[in-house]
């Protein structure tokens, strides 16, 4: 969303739900998503004039928040190793009202593909913004998007069957 000329609070109020929702779908952890997103927005506020003038301030926030999530996951892995504890990479339970099969299929995607597909369809960013938010080229973003769609189609079937037809689920292996 274009943010130049609007104040931080207004922009935050309009963008935060979308950002935190997408981060939840990517990371699977509501608390982690919440904290990473709050952190990212607070960094945006720290340098608001600069961020507001960007082509996609929201893309910038996604990028910072995704880095933050990765950093926390890394730290958690290190801590778990030090404490000889196992960590669940991603909480298994889908939120209520979410199709568990779809949630599971998205969760099973490789990280990059999951990020791309969620930013494109859940966050509704344009491909160019997706690439910018991930710090990758547009070509790489497109390729990951194609791969993700193909993998989801294999897992979920090309289209939702009518309720009476049982879903045939192929092995998720690539």
């Amino acid at each position: 969303m274009e943010a130049e000329g609007i104040d931080f609070s207004t922009w935050y109020a309009s963008e935060r739900d979308g950002v935190v929702r997408s981060l939840l779908v990517i990371g699977g952890d509501p608390d982690g998503a919440r904290d990473a997103v709050a952190e990212a927005f607070s960094r945006a506020y720290e340098r608001w004039p600069r961020v507001a003038a960007m082509g996609s301030p929201t893309g910038w926030v996604y990028r910072v928040a995704l880095n933050e999530i990765r950093r926390r996951e890394r730290r958690r892995r290190i801590e778990a190793r030090l404490l000889q504890r196992r960590t669940e990479p991603r909480s298994a339970a889908p939120p209520p009202d979410v199709d568990p099969e779809l949630w599971g299929a998205v969760a099973a995607l490789p990280r990059r593909e999951r990020e791309v597909v969620v930013l494109r369809y859940v966050a509704d960013l344009r491909e160019r913004e997706v690439a910018a938010a991930l710090g990758i080229s547009e070509g790489a973003a497109s390729a990951a998007l194609v791969a993700a769609r193909r993998r989801l189609a294999r897992t979920l079937g090309p289209a939702t069957p009518p309720p009476t037809t049982p879903v045939t689920r192929e092995a998720a292996a690539p």
Binding site: D31, D35, S42, R71, D97
Partner: protein
């Protein structure tokens, strides 16, 4: 027929966003970080260099406050970042005296969860410290008093994970070329160590 794309878009409608703090709380957090950074950068880099992943530890900042560094607290409950309590909170800041008592009043579209205030109540100021006036307004370790410009730390020779951590701590975005394993060594960095760059800029590391 419902396409994969449609189903994914439906996710956006189905997933209830976890409630976020109000705008005021987010702004307060930014101010706290700025203050914390002022005293904590050197210590953070040292900690980053050791790769320690232990629970939160207190660091002495230069004005004598004990500052809890949020990122080192276990993040698995997700609340670690909200627990920073400056022991001399607000004592030296005439312009922002009631920060801790303030309930963030958010004018935004309420989240369905309804929780607009911090659910972890900060334990509040423990008493006045030596308060230097205007400390909230001071720039962190920057050059020329411009908050948006920071010296690029030297992360050459550290592991990629450590380098990334150190750079992100001071506000850079990190891109790793070459070997991007956490345990790879940083053999190149651009912009070069010791130069200044704007906060939020991308620092490229080369891993090997």
């Amino acid at each position: 027929m419902t396409t994969i794309e449609d189903r994914l878009r439906d996710l956006a409608r189905a997933v209830t966003p976890p409630p976020l703090p109000g705008a005021n709380a987010v702004m307060l957090r930014a101010r706290q970080r700025r203050r914390r950074r002022r005293g904590g950068i050197t210590a953070l880099l040292v900690v980053a260099g050791t790769g320690a992943g232990v629970a939160s530890r207190g660091l002495r900042s230069d004005d004598g406050d004990t500052v809890r560094i949020a990122p080192l607290s276990p993040a698995d409950d997700g609340s670690g970042g909200w627990e920073e309590v400056p022991s001399g909170g607000g004592s030296g800041d005439p312009g922002d005296p009631g920060a801790w008592e303030e309930v963030p009043s958010d004018g935004g579209s309420g989240s369905p969860g309804g929780s607009e205030v911090w659910d972890e109540a900060p334990s509040g100021p423990t008493g006045p410290a030596d308060g230097s006036p205007g400390q909230w307004d001071e720039a962190p370790a920057t050059t020329g008093g411009d908050v948006d410009t920071v010296v690029v730390p030297d992360v050459m020779g550290l592991t990629v994970a450590e380098g990334r951590y150190a750079l992100e701590e001071v506000g850079f975005l990190v891109q790793v070329d070459g070997n991007d394993d956490d345990s790879a060594r940083v053999v190149g960095q651009d912009p070069a160590p010791g130069t200044t760059a704007t906060v939020g800029a991308v620092v490229s590391l080369r891993g090997a």
